[in-house]
Subunit: 205 residues, 2 copies
């Protein structure tokens, strides 16, 4: 027989609900999924958005190549199968963050419509908001920026299957937002996302 220990601990049967977690965090958990060419500005916008949300006392976390490709997905390569599994896992992790009440901000090229749609469905199926933000930028502008020197390598044939060069980017057909980084600066793009989050009631609980 287990000992009764004197504590001031009380709890109810069953799990904490998402609503309870949201209320505790003062926001509604959701995923903001940035998609677009390499160099389009996905990470720049996500990082700036995280900062602005934090300034407002909101809670977000960026999932990106730095913390996912070298960790959870380090056993995946760049075959078609592995690319699909890469995006599948990211969708599942973003869903867990959103379910936890966090704002998951994902920055991955995620070039295939079918993969993004599956990530969306994971959220839809359990009533979580999935905000697809197409970070749109003409290829020549992204290639001129080339922040990681990847286009140069792809043009030289040192990288095979590079999105926009020798692998397709499938534009979203029904993205919640299209952020034209060739026309608007970072603050302008962040403002568009913030406005949408506010309109959807995501920034309060």
């Amino acid at each position: 027989m287990a000992k009764q220990v004197a504590t001031n601990i009380t709890w109810h049967e069953g799990n904490i609900t998402r609503e309870e977690r949201n209320k505790n965090l003062g926001q509604k958990g959701a995923t903001v999924w940035f998609t677009g060419l390499s160099g389009s500005g996905k990470s720049t916008i996500a990082v700036a958005l995280e900062q602005v949300l934090l300034q407002r006392g909101k809670h977000a976390y960026c999932l990106d190549g730095d913390n996912v490709r070298h960790g959870l997905n380090k056993n995946l390569g760049f075959s078609a199968e592995d690319r699909e599994e890469n995006i599948r896992r990211i969708g599942e992790v973003a869903k867990l963050f959103a379910d936890a009440g966090m704002l998951a901000l994902t920055s991955f090229i995620s070039p295939y419509r079918a993969d993004r749609d599956k990530a969306r469905k994971l959220h839809d199926d359990i009533g979580l908001d999935f905000i697809e933000c197409y970070v749109e930028c003409p290829l020549d502008v992204a290639e001129q920026r080339d922040p990681k020197g990847l286009y140069k390598k792809a043009r030289a044939g040192e990288i095979k299957g590079f999105t926009g060069i020798d692998d397709p980017y499938e534009e979203p057909l029904n993205a919640e937002l299209v952020l034209r980084t060739d026309l608007y600066d970072v603050a302008g793009c962040v403002q568009q996302v913030l406005t949408l989050l506010e309109e959807r009631g995501i920034l309060s609980a």
Copy 2:
């Protein structure tokens, strides 16, 4: 040239630091890793702990079979290789949650010492707290509880490789806590975890 849009949005170069996220959440992100036999009480303690943390305005999330095995890890079976990959992914996801400032509460049998030690190392390597809680309970007590009827099936040979029956459970050698669920009730176990979290300064930022 991108348009300058009139906003009140400002941000600094670089990523938000973990310290900034922790401060915003009023706690230090960490992983509390519950390990033990099926029926030992891992999930019961984790769920009660999440509730008590939430009552105190802290932010936690349970990772368990329900939200991981049917989602992120649904493409894994029960081969030795898949079991290892199962725990590896859970360790990586818990690390992401902890890095985000959350308290990740994981409830998985996680029977092998090497797998748990790898999850610990992922956290250690980037300076995150990893609190291993061995939820200890004699096999005969766990088997008598048998909340999911799994021991019965394992004894009948309907489940192969079941921990404690025909697959080993490797007890932790250096767990931060040993929670004897045959001796203490749930409140008593939760109190022990809370006390440790307080002592480690995890419940403030």
